[in-house]
């Protein structure tokens, strides 16, 4: 009796071991039904971890015999990509394959692109919440070639409810060419030259173009280092004109996505950029977002009408100093951020709800101070309300700082091109352009500093100023309201209530500071500060606050080449809630019925790229046009060699005219 019992027990242990081994190797195979197709073994595997996951990957794994290969989506001179037909439950959606980085498979004089050995093709799967996990099957037709080619196929089934996660899928997803590399390309003669930056030494690089019939496929591509981490790769082209292409740039075997538009940008010289920056800066004074702050400054100069010239000069210079040093700080910050490899743009700081929140409170605070006539000068000059502080040059300085901070979401005509140029150039070119921008912006006040007597041309100071000053509270509060809306789009209604609460506390604090003396004043400030810290700590994370617009297609990096391939005219609107020039254009042009009808009549696809929240892809999309800020409007219709950039300030007539 006992020995038999022991034997059974022993058997159980052994079975357990087998089961263990099975969960490592055999079960994966058993569950995915590997199919021997002739020259490969095909199997279906997944990285699904738990039954609650709403998105995961399934992979078709091909273990090809030595010497055999299959193809990338552009197979090169011959061959064919595979074809996968999925048969899945309604609760599942299987996306298109995410192609792994291919390798070159030369058959001189021919060149093909594909995969050898053991490869996993990952497909992303989305699943309806709480739906049952069912079986998933695929008919996988592929061409497998050595010297000769054979079409082979596998019908694979995987039971997701019992599938073991396979690390090969995660590895395949990990190695996908997901990152986008920024490139600048030109066609010279029958050569495409593509420049890119890469921070590590490059042993080998190859550009795999996705479109066929554009390039000829050579065994190697000429590749040179331009220094400063810049490289240039040369690809022979078949056609004189290449408007756009996409592909994968393989660097040391690691793949990066390329999405390239050519010929749509006219490069400018440094001097041209500086000139554009000067003009742009000057016009920036008149842009809607800067106007309230600038008008206050003008008012403060009016009030100095009777003062002596040296005082006016000093105030004007302080203001200019504030403007210039802020532009300089911004440029420095941008250069530093850029050196870390991030894509940045003008107005990018307003993509942070915290910055928007603080700006809201500053605007609200200035509004309150102006409206209630609280004399703040003695206590807190740093609020920028320099109207009262005639002798305080730091007030003028800070108004300069504030004007630039508030101007940052704006792009004036000429300015976008200049800043775009500045941010894509080496550091030595970035600084002068930003300084020119500051100089343009501060130009009128600099002039005032040189010729203080011109101030007499302004109206005489008087009681009307008090009224006007109070009136200026409203543009300030309106700006605060706009910023609140931006904040809400970025976060949520709950977060907005927190911000409004903060506004209330700010109001109380201002009142306390103005009303009480000594210790109480500091107490008021402390309360404000504590409350602010507390609330900002409770702010929710960025949510994807899209500017809903049912008539617009959502933008993606490939949309231009896709639409051009379909001969479909399009209008792209790069916008954001925080970009007030964009919002003005929305109202004066895009939202007008006449424009909407024109778009429908002419069959123009309207595409919107919403940059309210941080978005690397949009930053790269802008960089294609050598822009780093918005607004940016792009138009193309069949027959045009490349897309064109529309003016930054639009009316409905101007918009329609520029599309004709």
């Amino acid at each position: 009796m006992l020995p038999l019992f022991l034997l059974q027990w022993f058997n159980m242990i052994r079975m357990k071991n087998i089961f263990l081994a099975c969960s490592l190797f055999l079960c994966t195979l058993a569950a995915s039904n590997p199919v021997e197709t002739g020259h490969a073994r095909a199997s279906l595997i997944t990285n699904l971890q738990d039954s609650q996951q709403e998105s995961f990957y399934v992979g078709v794994r091909l273990e090809m015999q030595e010497g055999w290969h299959t193809y990338w989506e552009n197979p090169g001179d011959s061959g064919s990509p595979f074809d996968a037909k999925w048969n899945v439950a309604e609760s599942l959606i299987v996306e298109n394959v995410e192609w792994p980085t291919p390798i070159t498979i030369p058959y001189p004089p021919l060149m093909t692109f594909g995969y050898e050995g053991d490869v996993v093709f990952p497909f992303k799967v989305f699943r309806a919440i709480d739906s049952d996990l069912s079986s998933i099957s695929v008919d996988f037709d592929f061409l497998i070639c050595a010297d000769i080619c054979i079409p082979e196929k596998a019908s694979l089934t995987l039971d997701l409810s019992s599938a073991t996660p396979n690390a090969l899928v995660d590895a395949a997803v990990q190695n996908l060419p997901a990152k986008i590399i920024q490139t600048q390309s030109i066609v010279e003669g029958n050569r495409l030259k593509t420049k890119f930056k890469f921070s590590q030494p490059i042993k080998e690089a190859y550009l795999f173009p996705r479109q066929d019939n554009l390039f000829s496929y050579t065994p190697t591509q000429q590749f040179v280092s331009l220094g400063d981490n810049s490289y240039e790769i040369t690809v022979p082209v078949l056609k004189d004109e290449v408007a756009s292409f996409s592909g994968i740039l393989s660097i040391n075997g690691e793949g990066f996505q390329i999405e390239e538009q050519l010929g749509s940008t006219a490069s400018m010289s440094l001097w041209q950029a500086i000139l554009f920056a000067l003009i742009g800066g000057l016009i920036l004074n008149l842009m809607p977002c800067v106007f309230p702050v600038i008008s206050l400054k003008v008012l403060s100069f009016v009030s100095m009408g009777g003062d002596d010239n040296s005082k006016i000069r000093n105030h004007a210079l302080s203001f200019v100093g504030g403007v210039m040093s802020t532009f300089l700080s911004i440029a420095t910050a941008l250069i530093i951020i850029r050196s870390t490899g991030s894509m940045i743009g003008w107005g990018y700081q307003l993509q942070s709800p915290v910055v928007v929140g603080i700006l809201t409170l500053i605007m609200l605070g200035i509004g309150l101070i102006l409206l209630t006539n609280i004399n703040f000068a003695s206590g807190l000059t740093t609020f920028g309300s320099s109207v009262q502080s005639r002798n305080d040059y730091s007030g003028s300085f800070f108004t300069g700082v504030l004007a630039v901070v508030v101007a940052s979401p704006c792009t004036a005509p000429f300015m976008g091109a200049a800043i775009g140029y500045a941010l894509l150039q080496p550091s030595f070119a970035t600084l002068p352009i930003f300084l020119a921008l500051g100089l343009g912006f501060a130009g009128p006040y600099l002039l005032l500093a040189l010729k203080p007597e011109w101030i007499s041309a302004l109206p005489k100071p008087g009681a009307w100023m008090e009224t006007l000053k109070q009136f200026f509270a409203f543009p300030m509060i309106a700006t605060a309201l706009w910023l609140m809306w931006v904040f809400m789009v970025q976060t949520s209604g709950d977060a907005l209530i927190l911000l409004l609460l903060l506004g209330l506390i700010l109001g109380i604090a201002i009142w306390m500071i103005a009303t009480f003396k000594g210790r109480w004043k500091w107490f008021g400030m402390l309360v404000t500060l504590l409350a602010a810290v507390q609330i900002f700590n409770n702010l929710p994370e960025n949510t994807s606050g899209l500017l809903a617009d049912s008539s617009a297609e959502q933008w993606n990096l490939a949309i231009e080449s896709d639409l051009q391939a379909q001969d479909q005219a399009y209008l792209i609107n790069f916008t954001a809630a925080w970009c007030i020039t964009c919002q003005t254009n929305e109202k004066t042009a895009f939202a007008r019925d006449k424009v909407k009808e024109y778009l429908i009549d002419q069959n123009i696809t309207y595409v919107k790229a919403d940059w309210t929240n941080r978005n690397e892809e949009i930053a790269i999309g802008l960089a294609r046009y050598e822009r780093t800020g918005i607004p940016l409007y792009i138009f193309w219709k069949p027959g045009m060699p490349g897309s064109k950039i529309l003016p930054a300030v639009l009316t409905e007539d101007l918009l329609i005219k520029s599309m004709q």
Partner: protein, 210 residues
């Protein structure tokens, strides 16, 4: 003696450059088609320039390539050949497979294939060196070229529009737009074709690359 040395030098030099330069040409559309000389399956020398006066269609082929096999098994290539031959067009089927590689055949085998498949090419050309193939930039089998009666290259590319991707093996030929048979009338009129350049599909041409 000097002439002899020059001859040797020229020969060595040209054969060297030839070996180094296994390069596909890419003849431009609507210009004169590059002239070539090749041996047909009956051992006769065929020169393109001798054929001026009638349009010429070039078909790169390899009977063991699954793409070509399907075109012939379903009588698709033969029917295009018939349309062309009935219109007075010269049809040249060209085999550029190197000896020992897939698709390379003896002249007898080539004729046997023509008979057994009911094909009607004017000539089957045996381009063992791949010279003609590279001159025309032939990449795949099938790869088609259309030359008008004045010797102008009017079309290069795929035979039809169903070749990219594995759909080829699942799509009926009657659903395909055949770029060759549908444009024969324009070719006869010595006109530029509406579609004159497409990406050819199929197996690679088995050139000698070792």
């Amino acid at each position: 003696m000097k002439a002899f040395l020059t001859l040797i030098a020229t020969f060595t030099f040209s054969s060297l450059t030839y070996a180094a330069e296994i390069k596909l040409q890419n003849p431009p559309i609507n210009t004169e088609a590059p002239n070539f000389v090749a041996i047909n399956s009956y051992g006769k020398t065929i020169q393109l320039s001798d054929l001026k006066g009638s349009p010429v269609i070039l078909e790169w082929t390899n009977h063991d390539c699954p793409y070509v096999a399907r075109h012939y098994n379903e009588n698709n290539m033969q029917s295009v050949q018939k349309i062309a031959r009935d219109a007075g067009i010269v049809w040249l089927s060209i085999i550029s497979s190197t000896p020992g590689d897939q698709g390379h055949v003896s002249p007898e085998k080539a004729n046997e294939l023509t008979d057994s498949r009911g094909a009607s090419p004017t000539h089957v050309l045996l381009d063992e060196s791949g010279e003609v193939g590279m001159l025309y930039g032939a990449k795949t089998t099938p790869h088609m070229y259309m030359i008008d009666a004045n010797g102008i290259l009017r079309y290069k590319g795929a035979i039809d529009d169903i070749g990219r991707g594995m759909q080829f093996f699942n799509t009926a030929f009657k659903e395909a737009k055949n770029y060759v048979s549908s444009q024969i009338n324009q070719l006869l009129a010595n006109q530029s074709l509406a579609i004159n350049s497409t990406t050819a599909y199929g197996c690679s041409v088995k050139y000698n690359y070792d």
